[in-house]
């Protein structure tokens, strides 16, 4: 569907992206995770051709997006903020978008606007944050894209609106097999709706995996050790998710038999192997250098 090929970009002297490659299939929801400022928005802007890559290209159904911008009728980007919408109301914006995107489905957008009771004549900038995001998402879906890029769509809004937004996304994918590429800090939402995730760290894309594999590839070990093994564990570079007193929670890759055996050799009094959730993996990955 959409393919990123060896994308590299330097911004302000910093190499933000280094040869990032990824292929997104029809109907998949891909979650991109990473710390603030790691380049997630930059990737989205590169895909949408708002900025141009230093190296690499983006293909939509094997067609270069840079050379055929007309395919952007099928690729829509919903940024964190959309200042263009500010001075227009729903009705005005529908007119503008309909002339820019011929496939714009006014019936569908009217239906959604009514369903979520969004005021039709208020200017965008007068809406609350939650309504703004809902509004933007509806506009994006009404364009009837094949791929939609969402930048933190459910961050910073109330539970009800978030529920509505997620429901809308799922419905869109279930009904029309739209591909969704989403960045977010709401790990819970990512865990719910994504079929695949990837991490953006040190300007590269790492650990791209199925959401299910996450719980299969990593295990959490709760152990109690008789002696103080804290330093030894840190030296072995095993992720410590938590510890209090002698009770340790460690994160290991399931196939890391070596570390597991080594830990066993320390004679733990208690040993529990449990699956992990996304937040634990995220913190272990990115907070790894923290000293607990």
């Amino acid at each position: 569907m959409i393919e990123l090929k060896n994308l590299s970009k330097t911004l302000n002297g910093e190499r933000v992206l280094d040869s990032v490659s990824l292929k997104l299939e029809k109907g998949e929801i891909f979650g991109l995770l990473g710390r603030n400022g790691s380049g997630k928005t930059t990737i989205l802007r590169l895909i949408q051709q708002i900025i141009l890559p230093d190296e690499g290209e983006v293909l939509f159904e094997n067609v270069s997006m840079m050379e055929h911008p007309l395919v952007k009728r099928k690729v829509v980007y919903m940024p964190v903020q959309n200042p263009f919408y500010d001075r227009y109301s729903y009705r005005e914006l529908v007119k503008i978008l309909k002339s820019l995107y011929p496939d714009f489905d006014v019936t569908y957008s009217n239906e959604l606007i009514n369903r979520y009771a969004i005021p039709e004549t208020k200017k965008y900038r007068e809406l609350s944050t939650g309504l703004k995001k809902q509004f933007s998402l509806i506009m994006a879906f009404a364009i009837r894209p094949a791929v939609i890029l969402l930048d933190e769509p459910t961050d910073g809004i109330d539970a009800v609106t978030r529920h509505d937004l997620l429901q809308l996304m799922i419905d869109e994918v279930a009904e029309r097999e739209t591909t969704i590429f989403i960045t977010s800090h709401r790990l819970e939402d990512i865990e719910r709706i994504c079929s695949r995730i990837g991490f953006l760290e040190n300007s590269t894309l790492t650990n791209v995996m199925d959401m299910d594999s996450l719980k299969e590839d990593y295990i959490k070990i709760q152990a109690v050790f008789e002696e103080d093994v804290h330093l030894k564990i840190r030296e072995r570079k095993i992720s410590i998710l938590d510890y209090s007193g002698v009770f340790y929670t460690l994160l290991l890759q399931r196939d890391d038999v070596e570390s597991k055996n080594w830990l066993r050799s320390l004679n733990p009094k208690v040993w529990n192997q449990l699956p992990v959730n996304l937040e634990e993996v995220f913190i272990a990955k990115f907070g790894g250098k923290r000293r607990w």
């Binding site: 109907g27 799922i170 994918v173 939402d189 719910r192 959401m211 299910d212 449990l274």
Partner: protein
């Protein structure tokens, strides 16, 4: 109908399978009853449609639900029987780590047998299950 917890250590499709089974066991979902489509269920519980599809496929493989072409997905007629067998297996697997832990903690196997008797007596006293 069902609630999924993304933070749980259990994979979402597993949770769906488990809860569906429970509903069948409890009789909330009766044999022959129509189930929501993949799209409907995924929108209801807000989960990825592929995950829901995966759960449905597994439930179908286990014989608990069946899909009739063009008509939808239904609870199988013999769902109850399949469930009971599966449940037995599941409980045995659940007991294993508990018993292992108990032994490691120093609990005598004899004491565990005694506990089983106690619990059975309690159950007889409260309900007819």
């Amino acid at each position: 109908m069902i609630q999924i917890d993304p933070r749980s250590s259990t994979a979402i499709y597993e949770q769906i399978i488990q809860q569906m089974k429970e509903l069948c066991l409890k009789g909330v979902l009766k044999p022959g009853e129509k189930l929501p489509s993949v799209r409907e269920l995924s929108t209801m519980i807000i989960a990825n449609p592929n995950t829901v599809s995966k759960a449905y496929k597994e439930l179908e493989r286990q014989g608990i639900i069946e899909t009739l072409r063009g008509r939808g997905t239904y609870v199988s007629e013999n769902a109850q029987k399949t469930l009971d067998e599966g449940k037995m297996e599941m409980i045995k697997e659940q007991l294993k780590p508990l018993i292992i832990d108990a032994v490691y903690a120093g609990v005598d196997i004899e004491i565990i047998h005694k506990w089983i008797e106690e619990i059975r007596k309690e159950m007889r006293g409260s309900s007819n299950d």
